[in-house]
Subunit: 245 residues, 2 copies
């Protein structure tokens, strides 16, 4: 089946990473793919545009089915290949409700509080340095917003609802995933945000549950296999203006 | 089952409306609910906060299951009560892929291009008038972005993929939904954005497919039943700065 699949992707893109973790988890390692260069604007190339008129990645095909939004790709893979690889959306009602909640909560909150309003606004890249006119009170307010948000997720990892005592015992030994004792779609959606944050200088010391979660999941096969390749080759070139959290 | 459900909601909120359309479509008319007042900050009230620490609506419970993000509520209802009411996510692979694509494309694009960057930025409310320092070139650029976005959705409604000739014939007579001949979750996600746009002054004359879609769906029972009540009582008080599209 992997041989019928094709993914256009960019290295370091949170939505691409998310789709790629789902592909690995569902057992499609070895799917055909093309790494596009954001610097050369290759997401606006003819081959991508003909499948995805928005000219964005991920752009994904499975035979003659085209799916482009990262969340749609993840849900498409899970619903089409339910019995293959990891079950990412649980069958049990309560667990499924929690997974759906965390997936959508991550999308609704982290994209902005973490990426667009914080990292993209504050990170110092050569080109953007001159453009940034961030007022100190803005930095303080947005730092606090991100800190509150991360505290919330740190608590989620520490206090999981709906746990049987067996699962609670298990988790004390092995560590929790975002929605319980098993890796789910909630982790597929959440991990790349944290990975990106760490890459651009986020210090997780104040969020111990996220820190151990990050460290543990970093060596999960699906996540290792899809780790943005250029991150392995060079250290991050951004520094958030505020180091302290 | 509806008697075990409870929804906290606010009138005129796009995410609330979306959850409410899904509740109606799945056959849960008559679910218990509380209309909260945004003006009185009731989403930060104790009853909401204890279920949803973010203090936001929609906040939804089904027995002892709590789900708060609007997309999570919709997907929870569909996956938990698959055989009840309207089937909102199709079983066929291609149709399901298209529905998932449009659902997530609406969320990823319309929330910003339509609501946050356009309507919220340009609408003139008494309190905000003085704050707005929108430069004319900004208005022109963002108007163009929204226009391009709406043209895209107008085209989606006009050129549906994966249609059998019977469905194509049917659609020519009755009009299309966003992902084909049937109302799906794609419509649940998309319609409230357009409804909100029209409420705040969006003129659909340049988007004839969206216009007839909007008019047709406005009388669909699930949408009529969940229409924001205060919109029925008074005309909109906002006017986008740019009337022309």
């Amino acid at each position: 089946m992997a041989e019928n699949m094709f993914l256009y992707w960019g290295s370091g893109s949170v939505p691409c990473w998310k789709a790629m973790i789902a592909l690995e988890e569902k057992g499609f390692s070895g799917y055909k793919n093309k790494l596009i260069s954001f610097d050369n604007n290759e997401m606006k190339g003819e081959d991508v545009l003909k499948l995805n008129p928005r000219g964005e990645v991920p752009t994904f095909t499975d035979g003659d089915v085209v799916v482009n939004e990262s969340s749609a790709i993840c849900e498409y893979l899970e619903s089409t290949y339910k019995d293959k690889g990891t079950q990412l959306i649980p069958s049990g009602t309560k667990q499924r409700a929690l997974v759906l909640q965390r997936m959508n909560e991550a999308m609704a909150n982290l994209m902005h509080k973490m990426l667009l309003d914080y990292i993209y606004e504050f990170m110092e890249t050569k080109e953007e340095k001159t453009k940034l006119k961030t007022r100190p009170d803005n930095v303080a307010r947005k730092t606090q917003t991100l800190k509150d948000e991360l505290n919330r997720w740190n608590d989620y990892l520490g206090k999981l609802p709906y746990l049987s005592w067996i699962d609670a015992f298990h988790i004390r030994k092995t560590g929790a995933y975002l929605a319980g004792p098993d890796f789910t779609m909630a982790d597929v959606y959440f991990f790349p945000f944290i990975g990106f944050g760490v890459r651009v200088g986020l210090n997780l010391d104040s969020f111990p549950n996220i820190k151990s979660y990050y460290e543990r999941l970093s060596s999960r096969p699906s996540i290792k296999a899809s780790w943005p390749p250029h991150w392995k080759q060079s250290p991050g070139s951004f520094k958030p203006l505020t180091g302290k959290m």
